[in-house]
């Protein structure tokens, strides 16, 4: 869930591509009569939610959106209805991959080796 200020900050970043706290404050904070720190906190929250990235230029961070507006809208629609995994669990949709078993990385590594072996054997068709 995003607050109204976070939405406005994100809208601004989508428009300009990247901005620091001062520039964002001038664009969205001044009209709302809120402090630079409040805008900075909103950017920090967006960073923690992984919706914006940042890089240090001189002494200030410059923030940029990590996903396009359409992507965020689609992700929010899906999240609001339970996500692909949730909908799949409830039988509302059939996904190519729904759930991956917990701590499955090791199992997936083993499967990758099995697939590589089959590929090396030139295995293709199945009776």
């Amino acid at each position: 869930m995003l607050g109204a200020l976070e939405e406005a900050v994100l809208d601004h970043l989508w428009r300009v591509g990247e901005a620091d706290v001062q520039e964002t404050h001038r664009a969205v904070g001044a009209a709302r009569k809120i402090s630079v720190n409040t805008v900075g906190s909103a950017l920090e929250r967006l960073y923690k939610k992984e919706l914006v990235g940042r890089k240090k230029v001189s002494h200030a961070y410059r923030y940029h959106p990590t996903m396009a507006e359409a992507e965020l809208r689609a992700a929010r629609v899906l999240a609001a209805v339970g996500g692909i995994r949730g909908l799949s669990r409830e039988g509302i949709l059939a996904a190519f991959v729904d759930l991956v078993g917990e701590s499955d990385d090791h199992a997936l590594d083993n499967l990758e080796m099995l697939i590589a072996e089959r590929r090396a054997q030139g295995g293709k068709s199945k009776a």
Partner: protein, 313 residues
């Protein structure tokens, strides 16, 4: 219809359904072993049939109760007078033991819950489909592209499922995309979500744990059947296995217990497999068996009345 008869009737359906469910549950593991060399779509059909067994058994109770009244089966009630309860629409019991409220309400609650949840799923699927179509960024043929950063694809809807793919999936190699789309089209062509919904309703007549076990087996078998269809269409099961592995690795949330390892091993399995019986043949076989039993419904009915009397009805 008297309340006593209604209670007796629903309780009898519950006893028979739950007994058939317990029997089905005891058969799951041996049947699973026996199905080892049957193709996934055959396994999906057989598990689907299993989900209907308690419902079919309850139909026998209905035939037994209404048969004599409708002239379908011999009326034996005169032969046992008041020695035990009459589970017969023509000679309705006026009262029944309150103990029967437990099984009757358990079955009635499960049926009501499942029907409400199924209705909610259908409405929710329509709403979600509309919301996703509103945020799609492109349409390629029958494929709707969603601007999502995680590679995946799914079909949504019951009667004519809609195929959605994420933008991230389309950025993968063409061979991988082809495998995933073939898999999802197989789900759509077979109307797998609808079959799952029908099974979900029939499973209301099962005991809860057994219903869950069958539901999972139907789901996994349907996924494997769609994998096999995709493998057949592109002529390379290993490529489908590779696509599964790549998409599984790209998932950000690694929770729950999916069937990815089983599906990949099934695709790599080189043991010859045999097609299962057609769904119509399976249902025709079961219908024939039940009609045969229904001819002896009088005896079955009498046994059920005796059992209910023994249980204090």
């Amino acid at each position: 219809m008297s309340w006593g008869f209604a209670l007796l009737f629903v309780a009898a359906c519950a006893f028979v359904a739950f007994a058939a469910s317990a029997l089905s549950g005891a058969m799951i593991i041996p049947v699973e072993r026996a199905l080892g060399r049957v193709r996934a779509h055959g396994r999906a059909r057989i598990w689907l049939l299993f989900s209907f067994l308690p419902l079919f058994a309850s139909v026998l109770v209905v035939v037994g109760a209404f048969g004599p009244w409708m002239g379908l089966t011999p009326d034996h009630c005169a032969t046992h007078f008041e020695e035990h309860v009459h589970l017969c629409f023509g000679h309705q019991a006026r009262s029944a033991s309150l103990f029967l409220i437990l099984p009757a309400s358990a079955l009635a609650t499960r049926i009501a819950q499942r029907f409400l949840r199924a209705a909610e799923r259908v409405l929710r699927a329509r709403r979600v489909r509309g919301e996703l179509l509103a945020v799609q960024t492109a349409t390629v043929g029958d494929v709707h592209v969603l601007p999502l950063g995680e590679a995946n694809a799914f079909v949504l809807g019951y009667w004519s499922p809609t195929l959605f793919v994420s933008r991230a999936l389309l950025e993968r190699p063409a061979s991988e995309v082809e495998a995933v789309l073939a898999h999802e089209r197989a789900h759509a062509d077979r109307r797998d979500p609808l079959r799952r919904l029908v099974a979900f309703l029939a499973l209301a007549f099962h005991l809860p744990g057994i219903a869950d076990a069958l539901e999972r087996r139907i789901g996994v078998a349907q996924e494997m059947a769609a994998d096999a269809h995709a493998a057949g269409q592109i002529g390379d099961p290993v490529r489908v296995a590779e696509a599964l592995l790549t998409v599984a690795r790209g998932q950000t949330a690694h929770r729950g217990h999916g069937a990815i390892p089983e599906r990949i091993i099934e695709l790599l399995n080189e043991t010859p497999q045999y097609g299962g019986p057609p769904l119509r043949a399976l249902f025709a076989g079961v219908a024939f068996a039940f009609m045969t039993v229904a001819l002896g419904a009088g005896a079955v009915h009498h046994m059920l009345e005796s059992a209910l009397s023994f249980l204090g009805a």
